[in-house]
Amino acid sequence: MTTTALTFSQVRYVNKAFWRNPSRAFFTFAFPLMFLVIFTSLLGNGTVHIGLMSVKASTYYVAAMASFGVITACYSNIAMTMAFQRDTGVLKRIDGSPLPSGSFLGSRVIHALFVAVLLVVITAAFGWAFYGAEIPRGILLVRFLVMLVVGAAAFCALGLAVTAVIPNADAAPAIVNASILPLLFLSGIFIPFGNNTPTWIVWIARIFPVRHFAAGMQAGFIGTPFDWTDVIVVAAWGLAGLVLAIRFFSWEPRSG
């Protein structure tokens, strides 16, 4: 088999295993939708100001939870799965086979992208039906998809990179959540920024990729201006993640 055929064959097996693990598939999809319902129920009647625009908070949350879903499916899922498979010896077994490492990791990334796109479609349909979100179309759809794919790939790369600092599978959820949850809050995903948001939080949001990615999602769902700078910042983080992953990714369990 060619490397490309092997990679796509791997994607099919990853996909089979994903759907057969009920809790994993369920929570990947249920969490963003559950949060969407919770946040819109609690805060959905307010108004969020983005630049010069004012939108209903419920519409804002459709874009925010779509971003959250992509980050969970890519960054968190990849980091935890790889740490778990590294610890149990799945990765070492693959490392001893002739499967090219790029094929193995690439297939995991492709599958995460697939899950991310599916999540965004479901969130969009849900948001369009219940919360007045727009469905991006035309040139906006193209830009939106560019941000979606670049963002999903970037968060996958960062997920692979973070496994280097995860000592064992037990520590994986703690380290993954500790690295992403504060950033989600500091990027306005769960609570929209207002006029009173402290400058230091705004600066953190500018530096890290989460808010830039969410801005791209907002452009699709809410019609805020699309800024290519957001794509560039997210892509830069993705490249940095890729370089770190190539340098530090380990196939061997961390014993001791």
């Binding site: 092997l6 295993a17 057969r20 010896g89 070492k92 077994r93 086979s97």
Partner: protein, 342 residues
């Protein structure tokens, strides 16, 4: 019980050329280059030498066992041969490749069963093997491999539903899918209960019948004795003895010992008596076992003496192993022949 070792089923093939010391000459018997050739292999971790100058030669079709206590350097050695670890020094070829520089080329020709390993839990046995078969240039048919390891009735079961013993058999099946010339088995039965161990042994023997070269590491004497054509004992990173299990450590030429309970008031023939031990048994070393045993039994029949518990012993592989690795690794000797139960 001791005698059972000598009557053990290890005479499957005529023993290969008797070889003592650090080097063997088995490979010179054929024109084929050896499957594995190791000279002066060294590897240290943080200054501590895990492997301190090992020489090994393994012929094609041979079942070779590297036997040693935990921490002796077995896994380090086998993982260097598999290409997982880089060596610090020495020369090394595996199937003609250098695992350090030609690992990618080597991977397609070897099968590996790691000490602790896992596969995706939510795929079935057949799916797992089909997936691995795709990675190799000339795979064996999946159903043939499933039959070989005796998982035919679990073909469509998910891995998560398999018992520990069955998962180990799946490990071996994966190692076989690529139809490798050389199979590495790193402690394949550690943690097994006795019946699972015997099942695994049967599978390994079937593999050997296919003409595969097998490189096995183990800390179980009976495993090495049952499976291997040739055994090397490793302790503290060095090979301390090497040869067929029947002759390892010169045990075929070692002095036999005669043991029996001597009834009070009897006098055994000259040279065959000794003060009884605390358990009432007499144990004497004999130089010429056939003649001396004959003299003793002749005397017993003539005098009407009952020799309760009479037996003739040679040092078992276990005795040899313990003496070879003694003072080297403390409590690590695992002489429990039935193994740890899982």
């Amino acid at each position: 019980m001791r005698l059972r070792h000598q009557l053990g089923p290890h005479e499957r093939k005529p023993p290969t050329e008797l070889a003592h010391g650090r080097r063997t000459a088995t490979s010179t018997e054929s024109d084929q280059p050896p499957a594995v050739k190791v000279r002066g292999l060294e590897k240290s971790y943080a200054g501590f030498p895990a492997v301190a100058g090992i020489d090994l030669t393994i012929s094609h079709g041979e079942i070779f066992a590297l036997l040693g206590p935990n921490g002796a350097g077995k896994t380090t050695t086998v993982e260097i041969l598999e290409g997982y670890r880089a060596r610090d020094g020495g020369e090394l070829t595996v199937l003609g490749y250098d695992p350090g520089h030609e690992r990618t080329e080597l991977k397609g020709h070897i099968g590996i069963v790691l000490q602790s390993t896992a596969v995706e839990q939510y795929l079935t046995v057949a799916e797992t093997l089909t997936m691995y078969a795709q990675m190799y240039p000339h795979p064996r048919p999946v159903d043939e491999v499933i039959g070989l390891v005796g998982l035919a009735d679990k073909r469509d079961a998910r891995v998560i539903q398999l018992s520990g013993g069955m998962q180990r058999r799946l490990d071996m099946a994966i190692a076989l899918t690529g139809d490798p010339q050389l199979l590495f088995l790193d402690e394949p039965t550690t943690g097994f209960d006795p019946s699972a161990r015997h099942e695994a042994w049967d599978v390994i023997r079937d593999l050997a019948a296919l003409g595969k070269t097998v490189f096995l590491t183990t800390h179980y004497m009976d495993e090495a004795q049952y499976l291997a054509d040739r055994v090397a004992v490793i302790a503290e990173g060095r090979i301390v003895a090497e040869g067929p299990p029947s002759t390892l450590g010169h045990r075929d030429r070692s002095t036999a010992r005669v043991r029996y309970r001597q009834p009070a008031g009897t006098t055994p023939p000259l040279g065959l008596g000794a003060p009884p031990g605390p358990d009432g048994f007499v144990e004497v070393a004999v130089d010429d076992a056939v003649t001396d045993v004959h003299r003793l039994l002749h005397w017993a029949v003539e005098e009407g003496v009952e020799l309760e518990g009479f037996e003739v012993k040679r040092p078992s592989l276990e005795d040899v192993y313990l003496s070879l690795t003694d003072h080297r690794s403390g409590e690590q000797h695992d002489s429990d022949a039935t193994g740890r139960s899982s």
